[in-house]
């Protein structure tokens, strides 16, 4: 059930120079059921240059505490304004939006969760859900350099963690697709979120190895509800599909990425 809720800022933590972890709680205990891979639309107040809501992935949910965590990269006026919120401030949020990552049908599936940049955001909650469902979780996260590597301890709670940095300062050097784990291990399913070139590269690997692979796409959104058709992506049949309501998670077999 989609809702518009006024959540309260419980905590705002600077993770890197460019990233914040925003913890919001539902004061009335009405946090809806959320699937990993779903997102929320955040209203940004007091920002004259920000008109539309901002789509942000669900990073983590703690139902006991009625808490929703968002991992936000500070890229423009909207996200930078979010970083000025204070504990106790109210934030209007539409949630949950979009379709989450599908859970593997095979029991105890070996799952690889690949993230790049702030694309790691939805993978923590996905790791939690997969682990809780009895699957095996490996995270493969890529960053530019050591400064971009975030929240390692959090991810380790739910699975093994493999890292790459472009400058080799942490983990293996190169892009995620260069990581040796891709050769060493055979995965049943891959879940990816990050920059499009990275997702396409991972998809290429998955196509080649014939591994079930889901990617979470980004796009400019106005409504987040499937109503305005602003956020489309072209599928492999040449049809325009809504990223917000038909995605943001797509099976790579639906996308025109094969070649």
């Amino acid at each position: 059930m989609k809702k518009q809720l006024n959540l309260k800022v419980e905590n705002l933590k600077k993770i890197t120079e460019q990233h914040i972890l925003l913890s919001l709680v539902a004061p009335n205990g009405d946090m809806p059921e959320i699937k990993a891979g779903q997102f929320v639309e955040v209203k940004v107040d007091n920002a004259p240059t920000v008109f539309l809501r901002r789509p942000i992935s669900v990073h983590f949910v703690d139902y006991a505490k009625q808490r929703l965590d968002l991992l936000v990269a500070l890229v423009g006026d909207g996200t930078r304004k979010m970083a000025t919120l204070s504990v106790g401030d109210e934030v209007s949020v539409l949630l949950p939006l979009g379709n989450g990552f599908p859970m593997p049908t095979k029991a105890g599936a070996k799952c690889l969760l690949v993230g790049g940049g702030v694309g790691i955001a939805p993978l923590l909650y996905l790791g939690d859900r997969l682990k809780a469902a009895g699957h095996q979780v490996s995270f493969l996260l890529g960053a530019r350099n050591a400064g971009g590597v975030m929240l390692e301890d959090e991810f380790k709670k739910f699975g093994s963690l493999y890292l790459t940095t472009e400058d080799g300062s942490v983990g293996e050097k190169g892009f995620v697709t260069n990581h040796s784990i891709l050769e060493k291990e055979q995965f049943d399913e891959i879940f990816v979120c990050g920059p499009t070139p990275m997702m396409k590269a991972v998809a290429k690997y998955a196509y080649a190895k014939n591994i079930e692979c889901y990617v979470s796409l980004e796009n400019k959104m106005a409504c987040g509800l499937g109503a305005c058709l602003c956020c489309v992506t072209e599928d492999n049949k040449g049809h325009n599909r809504c990223v917000c309501s038909e995605g943001p998670v797509f099976n790579i077999n639906e996308l025109p990425w094969q070649n």
Binding site: L52, L94, A222, C223, C228
Partner: protein, 303 residues
């Protein structure tokens, strides 16, 4: 509780708050946020005779107090609407209005006829003003001859309420309204989006795939109010006002300028509950000012 009932041609709306086409999907997208039966009516997504894929991505750019879109009438065509969508929405207890676009007079008329076969559709809003596709009807909407031609053709093919949606991208929107009225329209709605453009200075590229797109949101409200004011003085048929309405106060401004009903578009993206909040707010305003009915304020600007 003041009386909110209002009339557009033969149509009685339970209240004057409609949804603007293209911003409210088929209504169902909003059913988890609001009780759709509280709407005066809902105008669904722009429909064409044949399916259209619309324009490439990116289709949206944010602008000061507004947004640009170049969706380009993506829809599955009127037959799909009739067979697959209409059955799911026809029993919503509100007034269902289909927004119709086309590229040729014949297409418009043929689609209108098919819409006429859907019992629960109570009106057509004829979009002759889409700035986002070469043949989106904007060509029709910018000359009086064009308006007369397409409105007459649809009028012949469709005998329920016909609302003609006008573009503000013209020298005289009043002339277009008069032409629509002369050609048999029961009402005119205005404004459609203003044609605009946005650029990414750093990458030196347009922000929209089509370079230009349609501007909507609070930034266009002053232009929309002016258009409603001008047209309402000139025509005898009721005027439906829209453009940048975010709250009940904005809506009241349109009634005072001469609108018989209003539509809410872009605001649905900021707050999906805007429509019902506006209904409540209009009620509150009328009560506070001791008006018994919405009709008492229509066109009542003191100049």
């Amino acid at each position: 509780m003041a009386k909110l009932e209002t009339k557009i041609g033969g149509l009685t709306l339970k209240n004057p708050v409609l949804t603007a086409s293209g911003t409210f999907g088929y209504g169902t997208e909003f059913s988890e946020f609001i009780d759709l039966s509280r709407l005066g009516g809902y105008i669904i997504k722009g429909t064409t005779l044949n399916p259209r894929e619309g324009n490439p991505y990116p289709r949206m750019a944010e602008t000061p107090s507004g947004m640009l879109n170049c969706v380009g009438l993506q829809n599955k065509g009127v037959h799909y609407l009739k067979d697959h969508i209409y059955p799911n929405i026809k029993d919503i207890d509100s007034c269902l209005i289909v927004n119709l676009s086309g590229s040729t007079v014949e297409d418009y008329a043929e689609a209108a006829e098919i819409i006429g076969t859907m019992d629960k559709v109570q009106a057509i809003e004829l979009n002759i003003s889409c700035p986002n596709v070469k043949q989106g009807g904007m060509a029709f909407g910018t000359t009086t001859q064009g308006v007369e031609q397409v409105v007459s053709a649809v009028r012949k093919a469709y005998n329920k309420t016909l609302i003609v949606k006008l573009s503000p991208n013209v020298t005289s929107i009043t002339d277009m309204a008069l032409a629509a009225e002369a050609a048999g329209a029961d009402s005119v709605s205005l404004i459609n989006t203003l044609m605009g453009m946005a650029i990414d200075a750093e990458r030196r590229k347009p922000l929209l795939s089509m370079v230009t797109g349609g501007l909507s949101g609070p930034c266009v409200k002053p232009v929309a109010l002016r258009c409603v004011w001008q047209v309402a003085k000139a025509v005898k048929i009721p005027v439906v006002g829209l453009g940048g309405i975010m709250n009940a106060t904005d809506a009241i401004e349109f009634f005072l300028a001469g609108a018989t009903a209003i539509e809410i578009g872009t605001a649905n993206f900021i707050d999906p509950e805007t429509t019902v909040k506006v209904v409540d707010g209009i009620n509150e305003y009328l009560d506070r000012h001791n008006f018994k009915s919405i009709t008492e304020i229509i066109g009542q600007l003191e100049v």
